[in-house]
């Protein structure tokens, strides 16, 4: 038998073994896969760690992380103020933050204007989000800030503050004094938020946005005509239902609504995070760069 014949025979034998053995190996791997529930829990943990890249899946908000594979402890009831309405943040003597929720507000039914849909599609492939340049993120994008958000109620001031942690150290004010939006609003990142209670639900009406940010992580476009109606319902200690209605005749042909859940991250609180300190894209900060370094992870 020649040397060449030996090599060909060996190759054929290897191919035969591969054809016979490979299917059983693949089957065995499938049997070792974790049960569906475990897989989802791991995904929830990953999402929390990677906030800012969330997929916006309903009911899968960040905040589950930290418990690993331990069984979920039943939640305590919704904490309440003496007047009966729910506490939106940590009750006295406790601390905690809300994990991220809504990576993408839009879905297949979102009534885009043609330019807005084209821009959304473009952004899905060419991320150049102002958040990565340490710009504040208004609207629902605030709740996708890395490390979560802290809600602080100040009844004496008739205000609720929402602090986003992993951003440029900014916050939103929700005015609870019953006054309407000012008529001479200067467009801003967070706009002007006015809240009131409808039963156990905090309803927040916001207008006066500028166009300098993305209103969600996915890049849904908006114009300065954007009007947001948000509904916060803390259904138990660990769960906040967040429903948002988008009204922007500049970018959409009608109003649209989506809802998500935020999970409570116990024993966490605001810490000093200055986006500009460790930003990996300093040239983006002053707008000189025109391309994104795709080899970099999402910043911050």
């Amino acid at each position: 038998m020649s040397h060449r014949s030996i090599i060909v025979s060996a190759a054929l034998l290897f191919a035969l073994i591969t054809i016979i053995v490979a299917p059983s190996l693949i089957k065995a791997q499938g049997q070792q896969a974790p049960p569906q529930g475990q897989g989802q829990q791991v995904q929830g943990q990953g999402q929390r760690q990677g906030q800012g890249q969330g997929q916006g899946q309903q009911g899968r908000g960040g905040g589950r992380g930290g418990r690993g594979n331990q069984p979920e402890v039943p939640s305590k009831p919704t904490p309440r103020w003496p007047d009966g309405h729910p506490v939106m943040g940590a009750p006295q003597g406790d601390k905690g933050i809300w994990g991220s929720c809504c990576g993408s507000l839009s879905n297949a039914q979102t009534p885009y204007q043609p330019w807005a849909k084209a821009l959304y599609d473009y952004r899905r492939n060419n991320e150049f989000e102002p958040h990565t340049r340490c710009k504040p993120s208004g609207g629902a994008r605030q709740f996708v800030t890395p490390y979560g958000t802290e809600m602080v109620e100040a009844p004496d001031l008739q205000k609720i503050f929402i602090y986003d942690i992993g951003g440029p150290h900014t916050f939103r004010i929700i005015y609870m004094d019953g006054k309407p939006h000012p008529s001479n609003l200067v467009p801003s990142y967070y706009g002007d938020s006015r809240g009131h209670w409808e039963g156990d639900t905090l309803v927040v009406d916001t207008t006066g946005f500028n166009e300098n940010f993305w209103m969600d992580r996915a890049g849904s476009p908006h114009t300065d005509k954007l009007h947001f109606i948000e509904k916060f319902t803390r259904s138990d200690y660990n769960t906040m239902k967040y429903e948002v209605t988008v009204d922007d005749p500049g970018a959409y042909t009608g109003t649209w609504t989506n809802s998500f859940q935020m999970r409570w991250g116990a024993n966490s609180e605001l810490f000093e995070y200055v986006c500009q300190d460790n930003n990996f894209a300093p040239v983006l900060l002053v707008g000189q760069e025109e391309k994104v370094d795709r080899t970099s992870v999402i910043i911050p």
Binding site: Y122, G250, K291
Partner: protein, 134 residues
């Protein structure tokens, strides 16, 4: 004198940073665009500033805002190809009435310094233009 120069420099630097800070992420045409137009091989081109604003239904605006400004008559954006069509009635480089028709391509859409380049025609004259959003 040196102090004065330093102050002026700081003021100008501040203005540059402030302008850069006014990122605009809404309609891709909204904003102030700077550039020039002229024959493709011309050494001297004509300054061009166009201010555009999307009102939710159409883009309106001005060419060369100031004493010699003239309004945009038609502005359309084909977002499937990111092409822009502009028409306006104004004056040419010799001060004669002219109907301008510009067709361009929008590039670098994700940047607030995006650009439009294309043809800038009036009467029988054919020219090119380039604009950069600032």
């Amino acid at each position: 004198m040196r102090l004065k120069a330093a102050l002026v420099f700081c003021l100008l630097a501040g203005m540059v940073v402030a302008v850069a800070g006014f990122a605009q992420e809404g309609h891709p045409l909204t904003g102030v665009w700077y550039g020039d137009w002229g024959a493709a091989n011309a050494t001297q081109r004509n300054h061009l500033t166009i201010e555009m604003n999307w009102d939710g239904k159409e883009v309106k605006g001005l060419v060369n805002p100031g004493p010699d400004s003239f309004p945009l008559k038609v502005v359309t954006l084909d977002s499937s190809k990111w092409t822009v069509h502009i028409e306006a009635d104004g004056k040419d480089d010799k001060g004669m009435p002219a109907h301008f028709v510009a067709d361009g391509k929008l590039d670098n859409i994700g940047s607030y310094n995006r650009t439009i380049t294309g043809t800038w025609n009036y009467g029988t004259s054919k020219a090119t233009f380039k604009l950069r959003r600032d």
